[in-house]
């Protein structure tokens, strides 16, 4: 039971977030971007369950819409990381040799580089917006996908079923995509879940610095940036987006860990 604690808790949190994500497309209690100075910094009450911000916007509605930003950034960057990770990981792991050495040194270079810096460079060059944020964070997730897929390939390529396939004259492409890649799926899912939470964390940090999602689009990190100045007057405004952020990161971390535990157990 305790062994599945991570999986169950993580799964429940992620399900809840997906629910909020879906609902936010059809229903939010108040207009997300409508400003009303008369209503600024109202403490939580029955009308505004989580209070209002310094522009009189409903915090709950903005937090709900914020799941869209988080999921777009998380999903988009995981897809980028996954595609390039498959390309690099397969080439390095399957073919080995100098290709492997070269690709892995480049991955090392990417890893040696504090991730957020890369995003900051891209933001300097292009203007900060959601596309640049997704691409920057996507590039950051390439190393972990590449490494996981590469080690999966190195482990698998010596196994009998791959040798058999090769003896039957299967092409490299068929061996790679039909025989080996499916065997690495569980570790890819674990990486995806953990990368998803990292992506959301980095997006929040970038937006907090004012270099990620731009106003008026709701982003939890951006909200924290605006809320900090009112921490004393309106603590709810600081607490709500931070709590949501923590919950999301916790959920995807637990889910990733839980799937990994399950996998280790079955091995």
């Amino acid at each position: 039971m305790l062994k599945k604690f991570n999986l169950v808790t993580g799964g429940a949190i992620v399900l809840f977030l997906i629910l909020v994500f879906i609902v936010s497309f059809f229903y939010v209690p108040h207009n997300v971007n409508q400003m009303n100075i008369e209503n600024r910094l109202i403490a939580p009450n029955h009308n505004y369950l989580l209070g209002t911000d310094n522009f009189g916007r409903d915090v709950l509605s903005r937090i709900m819409k914020g799941t869209q930003t988080a999921f777009i950034v998380g999903g988009g960057s995981v897809i980028i990381g996954l595609l390039f990770g498959i390309l690099i990981g397969t080439t390095a792991g399957y073919f080995g040799g100098w290709m492997d050495e070269l690709l892995m040194r480049m991955i090392d270079a990417l890893l040696a580089f504090p991730g957020i810096l890369l995003a900051l460079i891209l933001v300097t060059i292009f203007q900060p917006n959601i596309e640049v944020t997704v691409i920057a964070i996507g590039i950051m997730t390439i190393p972990s996908f590449s490494r996981v897929i590469r080690s999966g390939f190195i482990k698998c390529k010596q196994m009998d079923f791959v040798r058999a396939a090769r003896n039957f004259g299967s092409s490299h492409l068929r061996i790679i995509f039909h025989h080996i890649l499916p065997n690495t799926v569980s570790s890819i899912i674990v990486t995806a879940s953990l990368s998803f939470s990292t992506a959301i964390l980095v997006e929040a940090a970038l937006s907090y610095l004012g270099l990620g999602i731009q106003p008026p689009d709701p982003s939890w990190g951006r909200m924290l940036n605006e809320a900090q100045g009112f921490a004393k007057l309106a603590p709810w405004y600081t607490l709500a987006p931070g709590f949501m952020l923590t919950l999301t990161i916790l959920g995807f971390n637990l889910l990733g860990d839980g799937i990994r535990d399950l996998h280790d157990f079955s091995e």
């Binding site: 480049m106 957020i116 933001v123 931070g242």
Partner: protein, 313 residues
């Protein structure tokens, strides 16, 4: 020796790749960088002057050679906004960021080791579960939010800290310490979570080794075995983890400096990005890469001398 040489060469190669990529990144800017920096109101003469200053009238290769020669002697050119050499600007701001990183590492090590020992010792019991939940939460809380919460609790409610109260160590060490303690704690929390999980795993692994059984059969107390033998072996990977995360700690301080309005490296970087001060951003990024890669290399090498098992390989 062979190992040290190989590691050094590979680090230098990594550094070279970073330098080339940073150079290229700032050359693929859509449009003319001089125009972007100066804005729409610039006269053609001003644009031309800045182009010359940035070396944009040379070929890409010439520009690279010029830039690379500079990097070799840590000459990153001149900041556009401050009209000062990038290196001296970096030098001025380095103190805050390094103090923060150093304090964060010290806090991390002093908190993680006892927690790791307790978790391993009470494996599967209440305390272990509690610590494990704590580490999951510690990993999930964004450090900048933690920073804001610490300000709310210790600043706004208890009046123990005030934001923006930083003075250099040389002026007033106590005030500097007070100003840096909470930001360093905020940076340390996710690092503590990582290290505790790691320590717990390695210590539990160590407990299964033969030498533990031998020590037990000699009649040594469990606590003696744990603290004298197991911890010693488990600490070696800790150094690696702490070193490898140095980059993450630096990155953490970039954001935290913004939360606490500390006049460090991160704040200058964010301002430079806002000002589109390309030479300054470029120089700071390469400098951080040099520091992070050098620390990684030193950790790799020291790890080899600390752990005889690696020598055999």
């Amino acid at each position: 020796m062979d190992y040290v040489l190989k590691k050094t060469v590979s680090s230098l190669f990594t550094l070279f790749v970073v330098i080339v990529l940073v150079f290229l990144a700032f050359r693929i800017i859509p449009g003319n960088p001089a125009n972007i920096i100066l804005g729409v109101e610039a006269t053609p003469a001003q644009v031309e002057e800045l182009e010359q200053k940035l070396g944009l009238d040379q070929t890409l290769f010439e520009q690279f050679i010029h830039w690379f020669k500079g990097v070799l002697v840590l000459d990153f050119g001149e900041s556009l906004r401050f009209s000062e050499p990038v290196l001296s600007l970096i030098h001025e701001r380095m103190g805050v960021t390094f103090s923060l990183a150093f304090m964060a590492i010290v806090i991390t090590i002093f908190v993680s080791i006892p927690l790791g020992i307790i978790a391993a010792n009470y494996k599967g019991k209440f305390l272990d579960v509690l610590i494990s939940i704590g580490t999951q939460i510690g990993l999930a809380i964004p450090s900048f939010w933690m920073g804001i919460i610490l300000i709310m609790i210790f600043g706004l409610m208890l009046h123990l800290i005030s934001v923006g109260g930083y003075v250099p160590w040389s002026e007033n060490p106590l005030r500097a310490f007070k100003a840096l303690l909470f930001p360093a704690t905020a940076i340390a929390i996710p690092q503590i979570a990582i290290l505790v999980r790691y320590l717990r795993t390695t210590m539990i692994e160590q407990l299964n080794f033969d030498y533990v059984r031998t020590a037990k059969s000699k009649g040594l107390k469990d606590s003696t075995i744990l603290l004298k033998h197991v911890l010693k072996n488990a600490l070696i990977p800790v150094i690696t983890i702490a070193g490898l995360n140095f980059g993450a700690i630096l990155a953490g301080s970039l954001v935290i400096e913004q939360v606490y309005a500390l006049p460090g490296f991160g704040r200058m970087l964010i301002t430079a990005i806002g000002d589109r001060d390309f030479p300054l951003v470029q120089g700071m990024v390469v400098m951080i890469a040099i520091i992070a890669i050098t620390v990684n290399l030193l950790v790799d090498i020291s790890y080899r001398y600390l752990d005889p098992k690696i020598k055999l390989k």
